[in-house]
């Protein structure tokens, strides 16, 4: 038996999946060792989208970092904006006005909805369900219309400011949101019909990419992938920031930690995020949207033109940057993929001494080989999609 196996001309096939391969969106390379279709070994190579985010931050002012954060997770840029602004505010010790907090919650949740739409859509497309893909892309377009209405841009929003937001909610935002959510719910129901009970889809994602809860913790999973394992860790619930403690929402959890659970968790989170947005729009108080601290947040244009103190502060903050006191903080928000942490070190100057991002999909991508080893090539597709690796965030 062993002799005949030795005589057979059998060797593993080593094959390069990526960086230019349809499934490796986000630019990543898998070096696969295959026996037939079975994955014997896998090496993940990232860094194709590395732009030196931290180096750029260290050479710009605190305010100038904000547009860079758009390009971290470019599918949900508003959450990155909010996360960075909250981190700097924690470093300085700013408490933003109540209305601003509500606006930030709305912005974050809209971003989270669009991120989950994109993720599920891409997942459906990659297992061949092109129709479901386009349904959710349409829903995402509708949400992006809302984001465009809010801040004038669809993808690179650059909406949040340290100590406030760029502008108030536009007129008619509430009505428009109601219309959009109505259409989105219909599209959600369509996709739910197309995928959730589709035997082929279930066969593709059920029991694929399983991660047991204890290992998921050890590998640093957060976000929907951790919740799919049954662990209800959500920064919004465990360390409520902004006004999430006043919102009524649930954290969906899965049971097995496979790709189907990740899909279901994301599907349900879309609904919960919509609920949060609706509640926030209902409860939002009137009042200022920016903190009244001219050394950190620019005054209004009118003040700058008419009051000399405002003009001086404006001049100082624009040319030198705001100057947080020396110190270091870590602040986390719930990104669409998991815990998005910012570790900031200030030396008291106008530039960040250190601006570290904890990218949620970085540890997820690191665990890819563990999740797919022993499976088939085809299993890479849904697994890689459901960890939702975003190149901009993972490679920075």
């Amino acid at each position: 038996m062993s002799d005949s196996a030795k005589d057979l001309h059998s060797e593993y096939m080593v094959i390069n999946m990526g960086p230019s391969h349809p499934v490796t969106h986000g630019t990543v390379k898998f070096l696969l060792t295959l026996e037939g279709e079975t994955i014997i070994d896998m090496k993940v190579d990232i860094g194709f989208l590395h732009r030196g985010f931290e180096k750029m931050c260290e050479n710009g002012t605190w305010e100038q970092v904000m547009p860079y954060t758009d390009r971290l997770n470019y599918v949900s840029p508003l959450i990155n904006n909010v996360g960075y602004a909250l981190a700097v505010e924690k470093l300085v010790g700013i408490d933003v006005p109540e209305r601003c907090k509500y606006i930030r919650v709305i912005a974050s949740e809209l971003s989270r909805i669009s991120d989950h739409y994109t993720n599920i859509a891409a997942g459906a497309m990659e297992v061949g369900g092109f129709t479901a893909f386009l349904y959710f892309v349409e829903a995402r377009e509708l949400v992006w219309d809302l984001i465009e209405m809010l801040c004038g841009a669809r993808v690179t929003s650059n909406y949040v400011r340290i100590g406030g937001v760029k502008s108030d909610l536009p007129d008619g935002f509430k009505d428009k949101t109601r219309d959009v959510f109505k259409k989105c719910r219909k599209l959600w129901a369509d996709v739910n019909k197309l995928l959730t009970k589709n035997r082929i889809f279930i066969d593709r994602v059920r029991n694929v990419g399983i991660m047991p809860p204890d290992e998921a913790i050890a590998w640093g999973f957060t976000g929907p992938c951790l919740r799919a394992c049954g662990i209800p860790y959500d920064v919004r619930k465990f360390h409520p920031y902004l006004v999430y403690d006043q919102m009524d929402f649930e954290v969906p959890v899965g049971e097995k930690g496979d790709n189907f659970d990740r899909y279901l968790v994301r599907m349900e989170e879309i609904n919960q995020s919509m609920r949060i947005v609706e509640q926030a729009l209902e409860k939002i108080p009137s009042g200022p949207i920016n903190v009244n601290m001219p050394e950190y947040r620019w005054q209004s244009k009118e003040d700058i033109s008419t009051r000399i103190e405002s003009l001086i502060f404006h001049f100082k903050t624009v040319t030198e940057g705001i100057k947080p006191p020396p110190g270091e903080i870590y602040s986390a928000v719930e990104g669409a993929n998991g815990e998005l942490g910012f570790y900031l070190v200030s030396d008291g100057s106008g530039k960040p001494y250190k601006c570290r991002v904890r990218p949620p999909c970085f540890p997820l991508t690191a665990a890819m080989p563990k999740m797919v080893k022993g499976g088939f090539i085809a299993d890479i597709v849904p697994t890689f999609d459901m960890i939702n690796m975003i190149g901009g965030e993972c490679d920075r």
Partner: protein
């Protein structure tokens, strides 16, 4: 003799123009437009001539110009001969199989006996199968000769899948043969003049299995594991460009038509309208004289037949744009562990029923 020759040439030209001239370019457009309709999009609408877009109907022409002027690329290290003939092997069976599929009945026209089938072989079904299995050589050769690992994996998948599903498809056909007692497709068609004699009533399970297996044989979604673009880039035709690439594409589209035609012939009354036999048609058109009646009946036959074919093309497109893709091992499990036993049971039950009669 000359009349026979003319008849054959006319029929061949007709099928050729319908298939190559109409179906294969138009199906590319149909696929785009139908998927667009299903997905709430506009679909192809940019190609225009003097400002007229004609709901995107110029796209097939634009596509043709594009692929014909593209570089015919053969990758380094590829087997030039097999790389070149593979697309031909893929395309030819799809065209040839149409020769034995009847698209109408038999009529007397100007004293000449007209049989609306190119080659009325007595082993028509076997002929179809013989050529359909040739198509698998095309994918295997394409995958192997391209000198590309993804193509290779795609070729392997294609060969395994096509072989497995041919077995099940063959077993399904046995049920049909048992019921009608003939291999001649024109005879199978003629026997379905009575509405309740249609294959769908006699072999309902056979129809579902045959249709599914035929889609799998054609490697279209949800069975497109051999060309799964998210896994294998484009499977066995990754390294093809220009006209050779389009030949695979055309082969696939023509096979859609062939599947539709086969299903129509074997399960949906071939060229017959429900409850209307050829003789009744001739009686309806008595007013036009014997030759006129026969001509009108032929036209009705052809329209009926191709309407049914178009319905099944539509059905295949709908399935393709609705369902996600299977995994390779799931496709094989479905074929060998589900369809094969069901097909065997189907044959057994058919036999029992025939005996009981």
């Amino acid at each position: 003799m000359a009349a026979n020759l003319i008849e054959s040439i006319v029929k061949i030209l007709f099928i050729f123009s319908v298939n190559i001239g109409f179906f294969s370019p138009i199906l590319g457009w149909v696929e785009r437009k139908q998927s667009a309709l299903m997905q709430d999009r506009v679909g192809a609408n940019r190609a225009d001539v003097c400002g007229f877009t004609l709901i995107g109907l110029f796209h097939p022409i634009a596509d043709a110009i594009k692929v014909l002027t593209k570089e015919d690329f053969i990758p380094e290290g590829a087997d030039r001969l097999f790389h070149t003939i593979a697309p031909f092997i893929s395309l030819t069976p799809a065209i040839i199989t149409f020769a034995v599929i009847p698209f109408g009945g038999q009529y007397e026209l100007f004293g000449h006996h007209v049989n609306l089938i190119i080659a009325d072989l007595d082993v028509g079904i076997l002929f179809v199968f013989a050529f359909a299995s040739l198509a698998s050589f095309g994918s295997v050769l394409a995958g192997w000769s391209s000198n590309n690992n993804w193509s290779f994996l795609g070729g392997l998948r294609a060969s395994a899948q096509m072989l497995s599903y041919e077995v099940v498809m063959g077993l399904n056909i046995i049920g049909v043969i048992m019921v009608y007692g003939t291999l001649r497709l024109s005879q199978i068609g003629a026997m379905q003049a009575d509405f309740f004699n249609w294959g769908i009533f006699l072999q309902p399970v056979g129809f579902v299995l045959f249709f599914t297996c035929a889609i799998a044989e054609n490697k279209r979604a949800p069975f497109d594991v051999a060309e799964a673009e998210s896994e294998l880039v484009a499977g066995y035709f990754t390294e093809y460009s220009g006209m050779k690439f389009v030949m695979f594409w055309m082969g696939e589209f023509l096979e859609i038509v062939t599947i539709g035609a086969l299903v129509t012939t074997m399960f949906f009354g071939a060229w017959h309208l429900p409850f209307v036999s050829d003789q009744m048609l001739l009686n309806y058109f008595r007013f036009a004289g014997p030759n006129g009646a026969a001509s009108l009946a032929i036209v009705v036959n052809i329209i009926t037949f191709f309407s049914k074919v178009i319905f099944f093309i539509w059905l295949q497109m709908t399935i393709r744009w609705t369902l996600p893709r299977f995994r390779y091992d799931q496709v094989m499990r479905l074929g060998w562990k589900m369809f094969l036993p069901i097909a065997l049971i189907n044959i057994f039950i058919t036999g029992v029923v025939i005996l009981a009669k």
